[in-house]
């Protein structure tokens, strides 16, 4: 049998990751299998300290003042066996003037009874940026429960971007809750893309509080469900400061017996602030499908093209 590290790398490449980055000395990385750190590399200006616990890993993550990490930091979390629990707690701080981009792959290729919990507390200073991308790769058994939680505070003149993607394999049970708070002149962009089928259950809550003047927020969701899958998307955007601007953009596509719900919550408490929202739930757009069919594509394939574009 392959050792855990090899199996993780194998699942990692299936998730779209490029294992070569783990050999690149300019790229910081951390690979965690269940509660074991099986690979890590640091670069100057970055603190990335994992501490193994009984059920997972506690991670201290810090980008020192003024340091801009050039290449994305690569993280890989996963459980290779059918069963197991993994609890990741992250305390992250991006100090004033610092910037970093993270690319996390979460792999559960054989999950029958797997729980993956992630709790992140993130503080972003002034004139800083933080981009967090999380890509999941699940097997087709659906036996995984994913519970990501994040609380983020963003300072002034800063930028927070999150991209969450779970479009390979069965979702299983998914319950995401991201809560963010943004100060003056800062920008928030949160996107989640999920594709559920079988009996998958999807619950997403993404909330942004634009409490600083001139802050900007965009919350975007793209969800497709088919078979018996169900999704509930709560996009919450609050603007309480002058010239704060926000937009919520949610598209959910359903096929078969699937069900989808979108709950946009928009709060504005300052007369100079403004938040807009658009939500579309329904079957795949007929005109899009027919346009592709008019180019010779069969209906089922046309639907596939439209849906995978939406989740890209």
């Amino acid at each position: 049998m392959m050792p855990d590290y090899e199996l993780m790398l194998d699942a990692y490449s299936k998730a779209g990751g490029v294992p070569a980055v783990f050999k690149d000395s300019d790229v910081a990385h951390l690979v965690v299998h269940r509660n074991k750190v099986i690979g890590s590399h640091l670069i100057p200006g970055l603190v990335l300290t994992p501490k193994e616990t009984e059920t997972g890993v506690n991670i201290d993550f810090r980008v020192e003042k003024g340091v801009k990490i050039e290449r994305p930091v690569h993280l890989c979390f996963g459980i290779i066996p059918k069963e197991g629990i993994q609890e990741i707690n992250i305390k992250a701080s991006v100090q004033d003037g610092a910037g970093v981009k993270l690319l996390a792959h979460c792999v559960f290729p054989n999950a029958v009874k797997v729980i993956h919990k992630m709790q992140a507390d993130i503080t972003i200073g002034d004139n800083a940026y933080y981009e967090y991308n999380e890509v999941h790769f699940h097997g087709d058994t659906g036996g995984v429960e994913v519970i990501p939680r994040a609380r983020v505070k963003v300072g002034r003149h800063s930028r927070l971007v999150t991209n969450f993607s779970l479009v390979h394999g069965r979702v299983g049970t998914f319950d995401l809750d991201y809560d963010t708070e943004v100060l003056d002149d800062s920008v928030l962009e949160m996107t989640a893309r999920v594709y559920g089928y079988g009996d998958d259950l999807i619950k997403i809550r993404e909330a942004g509080r634009l409490i600083g003047a001139n802050s900007r927020g965009l919350i975007k969701s793209r969800v497709a469900v088919k078979d018996n899958a169900q999704s509930e998307i709560i996009n919450e955007l609050t603007a309480t400061a002058p010239h704060a601007r926000g937009h919520v953009d949610c598209i959910e596509v359903i096929q078969g017996r699937a069900r989808a719900q979108a709950i946009p919550i928009v709060n504005v408490t300052h007369e100079l602030a403004k938040v807009t929202h658009e939500a579309a739930i329904g079957s795949v757009d007929k005109k899009q499908v027919e346009t592709l069919m008019a180019r010779g594509v069969e209906e089922e394939k046309a639907i596939d093209i439209v849906v995978s574009g939406l989740l890209k």
Partner: protein, 250 residues
Amino acid sequence: MELVRLEDISLNLEGRQILRGLGLSVKAGTIHSVLGSNAAGKSTLAYVLMGCAGYRPQSGRIRLEGDDITELPISKRSQRGITLAWQEPARFEGLTVKDYISVGMKEKDEGLIKESLHEVLLEPTEYMNRVVDKTLSGGERKRIELAAVFAMKPKLAILDEPDSGIDILALDNIVNLIKRLKKQGTSVVLITHREEVSEIADITSLMCSGCIVKEGKPKEVGKYFKEKCLPCPTKIYPSFMDGKIKVPAK
């Protein structure tokens, strides 16, 4: 040789009769314009010919090269060589111009994708990797639609108002593209409400109140349209005024 034939097509939508015993014959190797005012039923005719869902005529037959295709769904018709450029083309998230154009190509050939973009005066290096979504202007989207039709090399291209949303300066370019389509062996049903565009065709059918009411030389039909149809306050063909439908003799 006759490529496509619509025989006595009637279509009701939501209880309203939109097409009334419409007849049309398109010869292979021609540009055949369908000229008519707003709401004459031109786009509806395009959807019926393409086979869009909900546009199955209540009566009448559609033939392609003699074969009855009335029951065929869109994909089967397009696989047999018919395609449509929508009046308002759809937008797609996450689909690049390159992928969009190549969808209809039998062999994915990057050279042809580039050539088709050049045909509509879009610089390939700038556009190939753009996404066919909201970030494109209406005019750009229309051009990409025409490029996709060009790259597909269909037997019959139904172009629904290819000139709408395209500025006057670019009109020449669209006209040239339509002529190029003909040269490469594609027959064109050119739907328009502008007689100057209609005049580039080999033959023109005039549409009014869901019917082809006149057919002939583009210049003559265009002149009639300008003199009679444009000033007409009702946009209803005189012999339909009493509510009864009398299809004018051809």
